[in-house]
């Protein structure tokens, strides 16, 4: 799949990232090459009946045992905005509460 500057700007908007048109052109070129590499993996023929769902390991689980949580002040420490209780984000209006 080809990634063009318009696609870069669209993804940037979804991710709330500021990207200027020059950067978008540069990023589009890089991303297009990266995705191109991944696309080449699709050409690999897999043996009949093989299940390559993920590339490593199998069956890793944990028992249902509660562990320790972070103290709230640590949880909030890296937040760009917080009020001591909540993470604060710019007001969201485009989707209702799930």
């Amino acid at each position: 799949m080809a990634i063009d500057p318009a696609e870069v700007l669209r993804i940037a908007r979804l991710a709330r990232l500021k990207v200027d048109p020059d950067e978008a052109r540069r990023l589009a070129k890089d991303l297009d090459r990266i995705v191109g590499h991944i696309d080449s993996l699709r050409a690999v023929e897999l043996p009949e009946g093989s299940e390559a769902l993920t590339c490593f390991g199998r069956d890793v689980h944990r028992a249902d045992e509660p562990g320790t949580c972070l103290p709230r002040e640590d949880a909030l420490r890296n937040a760009p905005m917080q009020d001591g209780d909540f993470f604060l984000v710019p007001k969201i209006v485009d989707k209702e509460e799930a």
Binding site: D64, G67, R72, F87, I92, E96
Partner: protein, 482 residues
């Protein structure tokens, strides 16, 4: 104009595990905000999600109970979207390899029983909660709920009316409670549902399909029913206005406003639907082997429909009583304990379904939560059946005392002077007074109005403080008035 209603249901169910889906944070309701969080559920770099085996087993038990086909090999995927209820920028869900597919849920309405087919069942993590009411133009985010295990159950559009939608949700809720895998309470948000609805309208030999509308913001079964009723009428009106052109209208998501009892268009950006699913690289594929399946099957108890049938057959109960007793697993268990303690089944069912259910309703509890020891109710039922106390006095005076902790029904009957009055002389004497005091009712009765007898009978029962047998009172009155 003939039309067919097609409703599909998407239900999210919070599983009742002790810890979250991919980390050890406890699952709890009402903890102080942002205290049930850790590097994994906050999506901090370098943290590693590890699936909770118990959550998967619960989901497997549910899938087994609904007759789904369980996948041999399954995996988690990332569902990418940018919204501040997700700290990671994606939700761990399942895309093309769901835990289970197919199966169905039997629903019973007045129209009869039918099976609503299921499309799929998968596991995902819940998201955080946003509070949008901040005056400063900010939203506040609490991540306590983020990472709670959810099961998503998607039905085929087999539900043909708002009543069936209600029956579907009630049946699913009963099933889940029997399996003890979720509280399944819509008000508390541990069962959330998003129905989608459209109509197939027959018009001049062709079928016009209205666009599929998904409805959100529904917090009770009643609102699901009301929202669907509104939406069906709205789509019919839209068809009347636009004719066949209605089919070209886009699919949409509408919210439900229960104050106005109507649905409204929700603004939603088209690009929000581009989830760019890809396999979750941090969680290895897992296989559901026979042993795990067996472990899940072992957790499936006798289910509501089977139990309803058995109660009707084994105890000779009416369909109504059998259904009322089996809707809650704890109530059905309680009934069996009461009969095991020596109460005859039919009257015991009647006491539970009418009297105890009313007390439970008033206290906003389940019958079992009233905590009336089964042996005590059994003793009360026997006292009534043996004619030691009238049904009425037992319901009005004895049962409330027992619910308050009174412990010996037979002793209470003596202590409260509730023993049934079988003295026919005393009954006749009271009946004569009742006839003298209710001239109008007596005239009405003699004039052919059978119902007028109830007023006279009520007088006798009141005079005798409910201690007489109503059947004897009635027979006495009929004899005296003949």
């Amino acid at each position: 104009m003939k039309h067919k209603v097609l409703v599909g249901m998407e239900v999210h169910l919070q599983l009742r595990t002790r810890s979250k889906m991919f980390c050890g944070c406890p699952v709890k309701f009402g903890a102080p905000v942002n205290t049930l969080v850790c590097p994994v559920c906050l999506g901090m770099p370098g943290s590693l999600p590890v699936p909770n085996r118990e959550a998967i087993t619960m989901a497997l038990a549910l899938a087994t109970a609904m007759g789904c086909e369980i996948a041999g090999l399954t995996k988690f995927d990332r569902k990418n979207y940018f919204y501040p209820d997700l700290p990671k920028g994606y939700q761990i869900s399942q895309y093309d390899r769901p835990l289970a597919t197919g199966g169905g849920i039997e629903v019973v309405t007045e129209a009869g029983a039918k099976v609503v087919r299921l499309r799929r069942l998968h596991i995902e993590e819940d998201v955080g909660k946003n509070l949008h009411d901040d005056a400063k133009g900010l939203s506040r985010v609490d991540f306590n709920r983020a990472g709670t295990p959810l099961v998503e159950i998607v039905s085929e559009p087999d539900i043909a009316s708002p009543e069936e939608a209600r029956a579907y949700l009630n049946a699913l809720r009963a099933l889940v409670q029997y399996l003890d895998v979720s509280d399944a309470n819509m008000q508390e948000g541990n069962l959330r549902c998003e129905p989608n609805v459209n109509l197939h309208i027959e018009s001049g030999g062709t079928i016009v399909k209205t666009p599929i509308i998904e409805v959100k913001n529904l917090n009770s079964v009643r609102n699901v029913e009301r929202a669907l009723k509104f939406e069906i009428d709205r789509q019919l009106a839209e068809y009347r206005e636009l004719g066949a052109a209605v089919a070209a209208r886009p699919r949409a998501t509408r919210g439900y406003d229960d104050q106005r009892d109507q649905t409204f268009v929700m603004r939603e950006k088209e690009e929000a639907h581009d989830y760019r699913y890809f396999p979750e690289p941090d969680i290895p594929t897992f296989s559901i082997d026979d042993q795990w399946r067996a472990e899940a099957s072992a957790r499936v108890p006798e289910l509501p429909a089977a139990r309803r049938g058995r109660f009707a057959a084994e105890f000779g109960l009416s369909d109504y009583d059998a259904d009322a007793l089996t809707r809650e697993r704890s109530t059905a268990d309680y009934f069996e304990q009461v009969t095991a303690a020596g109460a005859p089944p039919k009257p015991a069912a009647n006491w539970i379904v009418s009297d105890l259910a009313r007390h439970a309703n008033e206290a906003k509890k389940t019958v079992a939560e009233l905590r009336l020891p089964p042996a005590r109710l059994a003793a009360l039922v026997r006292l009534v059946e043996e004619g030691k106390v009238s049904r009425q006095a037992a319901a009005k005076d004895l049962l409330p005392r027992l619910l308050e902790g009174g412990d010996d029904p037979a002793a209470l009957v003596q202590k409260l002077g509730l023993a049934r009055i079988d003295d026919l002389g005393q009954i006749e004497e009271t009946a004569r007074r009742a006839i003298a005091a209710n001239a109008k009712a007596v005239a009405d009765y003699r004039g052919g109005k059978q119902a007028a007898l109830n007023a006279i009978k009520g007088f006798v029962m009141r005079e005798m403080k409910g201690k007489a047998d109503p059947a004897v009172v009635e027979a006495t009155l009929r004899r005296l008035l003949a």
